[in-house]
Amino acid sequence: MIQKKICLLGSFSVGKTSLIRRYVDSLFNDRYLTTVGVKIDKKQLQLNGQEMTLMIWDIAGEDAFTSIRTAYLRGMAGYIIVVDGTRPQSLEVALSIHQMVQESAGDLPVVFALNKADLKHQWQIDEEKLLPLRQQGHAVIETSAKWDQGVNELFLHLAKQFGT
């Protein structure tokens, strides 16, 4: 069976853990509980008739006190960067993480999750700001762990980029 390590990265409180909980366990909890360190989950999926196991690394979000250890990225096949649509700052953090990953791990498959689509009326990120990402060919998928919107699509989109 093919096994791939993927990492979820992003600023703190953007919903990385919630997206994983929704994808792996079909659960959602509205309460924000910060992640310290790393938590690894597994999810099996079928892709083009083949079984694939995703080892999903939930990595503590970045803030002024914590930055991502590049060692976490070793052996990673691809990554998801999560942005909170209601927090413009989280896009800036996402872009700097993206740059850091490219510099330390090279060009790997990546998908951006524009999360908290259930709060779309409060979003503060213009499409214009996302244009450079789209122009670079990166998928930006609107997600809501709360409403189970775009979550499967997000992980599947990344997995499809691995080939078999």
Partner: protein, 364 residues
Amino acid sequence: MSCSCIWPSNSAPDMDFSLPGLFGALDMAVFLRRDADSFSLHTQPPVWLLLYLHQTGHDNCSLATVFPYLSCFMEDAEQHWQEQRPGLLPSGSWIETDAFGNELALEASALWVDGRAVLLLQNLGKKYIDEVSQLQHLRNGLLEQEKLENEVRRRTLKVKQREEEIAIKLVSLTSYRDEETGTHVKRIGLYAAAMAKAMNWPDQQVDDIRIAAPMHDIGKIGIPDRILLKKGKLTDTEFAIMKRHTEIGAKMLQDSNIPVLRMAAEIALRHHEKWDGSGYPHGIAGEDIPITARITSIVDIYDALVHERVYKKAMSEKEALALMQDMTRSHLDPNLFQLFLEILPVMRRIRQEVNEIDDLLVSY
């Protein structure tokens, strides 16, 4: 021999000071490395560890298989052991979920002891909970701060949009009296902002010139209709009155605490000054003319030339640029005109969009 421990001799607690007792108290297991990926347990396993080692045994276990997190740590640990460095190399904490759904916060540390590569594995327990609680508190504070910053930003943007709308409406008042169009004044602001952006001005100043540049002719409100709207050539006296629109505009806008109005006053006063000093009202030259006014002169002339008015036909862009190139000898700042040419595609886009969308206000 006296005891040097920290407990007073008569109050030492009843504690097991043997090493297994100590490791047990720390909820820690000690592994010795056998070879690259294999470890043997050297201490009594804590209960939580038994659940993970029951398949691999204690003597020859691949810890990176049991705990996938360690796959990202082993490379650093190996280097630490090979270099026989003193001190602990911690892996950073991670969470494991046991077969019963309980979460454990673990941390490994590599160290070199008496010629042996040692790996400590510790259940962080309360230490982790305290760390999470502290970080949660800090992050809640950061979220609150971000929320406030976003609210301030949102309200500032609203105020700016209002300022801009008021400015455009004010300028439109003067436009009613002469032949200028509303779209002309909007374009002036956008062209000027594009120039400022190309020069990497701070965002605030880019915003300011977008609002201020369209007000350059606001002083025309003080010029009598018989002169402002006269079809024929102005007499010397009439022209002298006409020229006063620069100072009238400046007087209308100056002495304000609002930076955008101060910039607008500067532009209104200086937009007829010329690079060679032959302009008015004061005949200042070169870089003595504020850059905001030099920019406004260029974009105002460009837009006036390439658009039709009731009293003249539009020039082709090629003709207009050739004429402006000639004007760099006397009237326009040659360096700024060069920059204008470099961003001509942006200017063309503004021309096209503001013609098509009659009521366009700048979108942020």
